[in-house]
Amino acid sequence: MTGKLTLSRAINEGLRRALESDDKVMIMGEDVGKLGGVFRVTDGLQKDFGEHRVVDTPLAESGIVGTAIGLALRGYRPVCEIQFDGFVFPATDQIVSQLAKMRYRSRGAVSLPVTIRIPFGGGIGAVEHHSESPEMFFAHTAGLRVVACSDAAEAFTMIQLAIESEDPVIFLEPKRRYWDKAEVDTATPLSGALPLDKARVVVPGDDVTLLSYGPLVRTCAEAAVAAREDGRSVEVIDLRTLSPLDMPTIAESVDKTGRCVVAHEAPVFGGLGGEIAARVTEACFYNLEAPVLRVGGFATPYPPSRLEDHYLPDLDRILDGVDRTFEF
């Protein structure tokens, strides 16, 4: 069965599959029940699976993650929704000090298969705290897996793989792409899907490697098309997994192209781009024609929405980054 689904709907379908195939799977969060979430990602699920499996919680993010940990200790597989990126911070302690460390602390006795879904990033004209990119808080935290989906087809399988994972997964959803449609194959078994810890080449190319994840993958693909007109062949890679990074896929590409640009919405300073730059430089030192360059958010808070188009890396800024790597 294939058909065009929005990214939001694809996650909804993925959640439905997970709820159907394992009765330990639960959904928890604010407004995930009757409302179906503010982005409708959980639409209809409470109606079909009941209030015990799709749980509207009190308004407390630490409470959501903390009780999800307890439920996981009891054998459940909770999928927590954090309503917006900026509201994950009250849950930091439970995620960083408890969720991420429990397996290690218990010498492997405890598994916490908790998935934390976070609609992240900007571009929807929202008020403050609704456009954050907090991924580095989690990628820097050992014990978590951090992944970001970029389109409906990917989202459908990735959410299911995340829920299947025995490790806690931070699952980032590019909220401004929720309404983007793509062909989703819901028939092929999950076992055939690309594993959660692999990156994927979205646009093949030879001159420069362009790495991104989440909402900017589409922008990067568009940049590759634009660059082609200028006679430049850009290879675009959707990282998919931020922790771990799929270094073999990345290094193979950069060894071939000799140039690399990383784009993300999160501030450049301390962002994933730095980590990638360090690793790529070490792995591909003799093949690099230019330093790895980064295009990303500035070292400012996320600005008022009327300025976000300037804050967010767009086609032009990404191409500018690509251009600059050819100045070396």
């Binding site: 604010e30 407004d31 029940g33 503010v38 308004l59 409470g63 009250p90 008020v127 008022p304 009327r306």
Partner: protein, 360 residues
Amino acid sequence: MTDSELIQLLTPEGERLAHPMYPLDDSEVDLKGLYRDMTLVRRVDTEAISLQRQGELGIWASLLGQEAAQIGSGRALAPADMAFPSYREHGVAWCRGLEPEKLIELFRGVSHSGWDPAERKFHLYTIVIGDQTLHATGYAMGIQRDGADDEAVIVYFGDGATSQGDVSEAFNFASVFNAPVVFFCQNNQWAISESNERQTRVPLYQRASGFGFPGVRVDGNDVLACYAVTRQALRAAREGQGPSLIEAFTYRMGAHTTTDDPTRYRIASELETWKLKDPIERVRVYLARSGQADSGFFEKISAEADELGARIREACRAMPDPAPLSLFDHVYAGSHAILDAERERFAAYLDSFESEGASR
């Protein structure tokens, strides 16, 4: 909850009551002024909603139904008192003299909150649920240290917010330090789609006693009761009696915000019931019936509202987008080399378009 728990001075039918613990004489309060305030902020609200529909605002959080809670408490503030709002306190903002245009800016996406809280005695809107309760408590601790016994603090938050750890921590700090802060919870029965029973199984005002300070439930649609109860709580705070919690029992008559669709989660009849308890209507009835106002008064207010609406509409449409480089302003007080370099590079990048023309 028994009815006797709910403090009320003006019934939905416009009947004036007395309450032994909250004596309030009509002469102590400018009821026509309160009517005017409520009517005008409701107009601000209506106007903002339609501006959002027209694409002028990104979003708007409506206060419809909560005018009495906000105006009653807001007018009970002394000029020196400090108020910490959530994101729906347009009525309190009004009482503090903040131009509605300032709020419009925020929801338009032109600024995050473009006023000086110290000057306005009105803090920035706070969107992260509950965070401001700690700021208010800390501010009140500052008042104590200043020995300023003519000042108190009020902090606004919703029923949903009471579930946040920060709010409990604020209750506890305020109690332990006996800080002069009034916790004003507008229980509008809903936190987006979640009804009260998702947040508590006992009336919210009772939360206070477990932290060692008084809590009271007031009819949040009764502007006089809100005024009287808040005035007394602030006075107690200023007199060194410490914090208290006011639960204003009200109802969110509109959607959570303009992006919300309440038909998905609540039944229409609930709204009908609450329409009968409208906070403005009961004041109109009482003013008219008691002969304190005639139709001329009501017409004048209505005309004033029309004018205000027009003013806001125009001001909103005229608001320019901020300059691109302003996005780098006010991150730090001093220079910050990393940020400064980014600003410089971005300025050069923007310039390159100017000089190139539309080269790409």
